[in-house]
Amino acid sequence: MTQERIRHLLGIDDLNRDSAERLLDLADTFLEVSRRPVRKVPALRGKTIINVFFEASTRTRTSFELAGKRLSADVVNIGGSSSSTSKGETLRDTVNTLDAMHADVIVIRHAASGAAHYVARYARAGVVNAGDGMHQHPTQALLDAFTIRSRKGRDFRGMKVAICGDITHSRVARSNALLLKMLGADVALAGPRTLLPTAVESFGCRVYDRLEPALDGADVVMMLRIQRERLGAPLLPALREYARVFGLNATRLKLAKPDAIVMHPGPMNRGVEISEEIADGTHSVILNQVEAGVAVRMAVLYLAASEPGAPTDG
């Protein structure tokens, strides 16, 4: 029996193909827990998990909170505006403070790329990256892979995945591209030329400035959220223009395989990157992604919060 601990999960590069697959297997177990009459196991009783969200997020924070609670850990949420950061405390001091409170795991969401790595450098606690700037969002990629696996089978080799939208600013796109490539999928990135990163080849993916070639024969279509706050900026055309050229609708989806699944990390801009009928249609697995999120985060927290020690028999 392989036993290991993931102390920090900062990015997909903390995993390899083997450990990623084991983590997804473990998430299967936790999915079962979420479907029971009593949705709680005592695995992390007495452990403390602190969610530090310097950037607003309802979905991810709730998902991490439920994941911790379903493992019986004590979960505390700290938000950016209510924290001492607004009083001028440095991130370093925040980390020291949480360590002094004997946190076992710190889950951090921050607008600055690299924030989770910074925290991990100074924290005694395990650190889980819940999204840092334009860098990574590893648990999102893992829950996406989990969702794909439960629909399309465990073997990602030869599977065609299209990731569409604002690739440059998307940590979801980056983590997903890295993980799906690692698992063996054939990944295509598509978006307006202004929203494709300059070093995009380094992902090892096919890259298109139109949606159609990426959708062609795809098994999985992953739409990214257009961040409205970036609209009107010189990088992006108008909203309606974006929907017309880069939005996923029924006509475009016909280019993908008949049994293709459509994913979105949420929150959705209905009628912009994804049409109403597709979002609510039979291809959509968007709510399955939400359910998978709790299971995957339970697996990550379980591995991060358990301490090394001698296993006993009984």
């Binding site: 290991e4 601990r5 196991v41 695995a43 452990k47 493992l71 358990s306 020690g309 009984g314």
Partner: protein, 188 residues
């Protein structure tokens, strides 16, 4: 290594225990068997066959992985390979028999009882084991025991199943888990 139970004596013993269950409870109508993974899997499926023969229908059979309920769950190394827990029906008001291969410290059974309660509220929970060995650390006892055995501290009891049936052997603690010459196929 010495043999404690050969397949024939296990089969005979399980048939006897099936009869005991039916007799003690005047039938097996509300019975649910729950195997403790993985040791209890082979024993429970064989027991179910015997109950089916006696009663004309087989009781539902489920399984529990107790890893997340261990009393050392948060201090032991995490186990990234946790098997599925499958409870096929509601346990409310049912008569549950937990099935394991060896009863030793009692900690596994303690964890299994906790896990069971998260699936419902059984009317009665009993414990059936193939071998009851010395070394209890909790006040837990079995209701049905095929064989009670006292072994030395440097010994261990291994139960395994192959094509010929279920075996129980006593061997040195330091020896590898799979007895030589005995393939240990995945038992469903």
């Amino acid at each position: 290594m010495r043999t404690l139970l050969d397949p024939e004596s296990v089969a005979r013993g399980l048939r006897r225990m099936a009869g005991e269950i039916v007799e003690r409870h005047a039938g097996a109508s509300d019975l649910v068997l729950v195997a403790i993974r993985r040791g209890g899997l082979a024993v429970s499926s064989s027991l179910r066959d015997w109950l089916g023969e006696l009663e004309g229908h087989q009781p539902p059979l489920g399984s529990l992985d107790i890893t997340l309920y261990r009393d050392d769950a948060s201090t032991a190394l995490p186990n990234p390979r946790i098997g599925p827990s499958e409870i096929p029906c509601s346990l409310d008001g049912r008569h549950v028999i937990l099935v394991d291969d060896v009863l030793y410290t009692g900690r596994t059974v303690r964890a299994a009882i906790d896990a069971l309660m998260d699936y419902g509220r059984p009317r009665l929970v009993e414990l059936l084991v193939l071998v009851d060995r010395n070394g209890r650390e909790l006040p837990i006892q079995a209701d049905y025991v095929l064989k009670a055995e006292t072994i030395r501290n440097d010994e261990r009891i291994d139960v395994f199943a192959n094509e010929s049936g279920i075996h129980a052997v006593v061997q040195s603690k330091s020896s590898p888990t799979i007895p030589p010459g005995a393939p240990r196929p995945e038992v469903k």
